[in-house]
Amino acid sequence: MQTNERDELDWLAFRYISNEMTATEADAFEQRLANDQLAREAVARAVDLVQAVADLPADVVSLATTQHSPFAARSIRPRRVLGLKTWIAAAAAAIVIAALGQQLLRDSSDESALAKVWAKMRSGHDANDSSDRELLADSEDSMLDDEADLTVPAWLIEAVGGESDSDKWEDS
């Protein structure tokens, strides 16, 4: 069996045991199970995998989903961290305003001083901004590199998203 076929079979088996199939798909897969030993073995493998993950200690899973996860970092923000960030932002703003004021005082004869300082700040900011954009693009590329290998068909999205769990089994 080709690797892709096997991947596809493992994925089907996982969706079957996880109730992530429509009733029609589940019935079709069970008909396949009646004749296809590889599909039966894929179901057994999927169960072993799910059991192994489910058997992991809670602290391991908690670490896996919070410490390394950018999503968790975005969603979980203790008040203390937010407060600290607010103070840092306020301090940075005060420093920028003070620097801006000093430069204006030093160059008060020049009416365009404010414009110059502003232009200088903007150019510095733009440079940083562009490097940030490059970094972000690199990061997104690496994250999506292997996801690009997979094209999720519309019917699959419909199958797992367009029907509630209860519908799937009650209809059959």
Partner: protein
């Protein structure tokens, strides 16, 4: 002893089949029934049938025959007990099985260690989806909503993670 008894499969052969295939069969039955106790019932019925009519299965692979009998037993149990409705309930994947032997228990712990290491190697975004789907038992649709991601992205991440975890398990087994 009747002539029919003479043609029955040797109990030693059935015992060997049990030793060799019962763990995989049991996992398969849990996948079909989503209930470890019912899976045990189906497993017992399967080997009872093997004792009774296993001699008729010699033409094909005995393993394949056992799995086919097991599927039929599981579907019959599900019909009788209307377990499709029960399958909607929370699936107790991790409930320790009383019938698990010490050897199986050790093997299971080893598998858990391998999976833990394999999870660590996954990209964070894939690991997150795996844990939410399997450990937290959220649907793909719910995960997509919670992470504010397209459903297709969540499915891709899960599919990639399954592939990597399976390869890792195969390498270490």
């Amino acid at each position: 002893m009747t002539p029919a008894d003479d043609s029955r499969i040797d109990p030693a052969v059935v015992a060997e089949l049990y030793e060799r295939h019962q763990a995989e069969l049991r996992s398969f039955l849990i996948g079909v029934l989503r209930d470890s106790h019912l899976a045990n019932d189906a497993l017992q019925a399967t080997f009872t049938k093997a004792m009774e009519v296993g001699h008729t299965a010699m033409r094909e692979s005995l393993k394949g025959w056992l799995f086919r009998v097991a599927l039929n037993e599981a579907l019959a149990i599900r019909r009788r007990q209307q377990t499709r409705d029960r399958a909607l309930q929370r699936v107790a994947w991790s409930r320790p099985d009383a019938s698990e032997s010490p050897v199986e228990s050790v093997a299971r712990r080893e598998t858990v260690d391998v999976v833990r290491a394999a999870l660590d190697e996954l990209p964070a975004e894939q690991r997150r989806v795996v844990c939410m789907r399997i450990y937290e038992e959220k649907t793909f649709a719910a995960i997509a909503e919670e992470l504010n991601l397209p459903l297709g992205t969540v499915l891709s991440r899960m599919q990639l993670a399954i592939r990597k975890l399976r390869l890792k398990l195969e390498q270490d087994s």
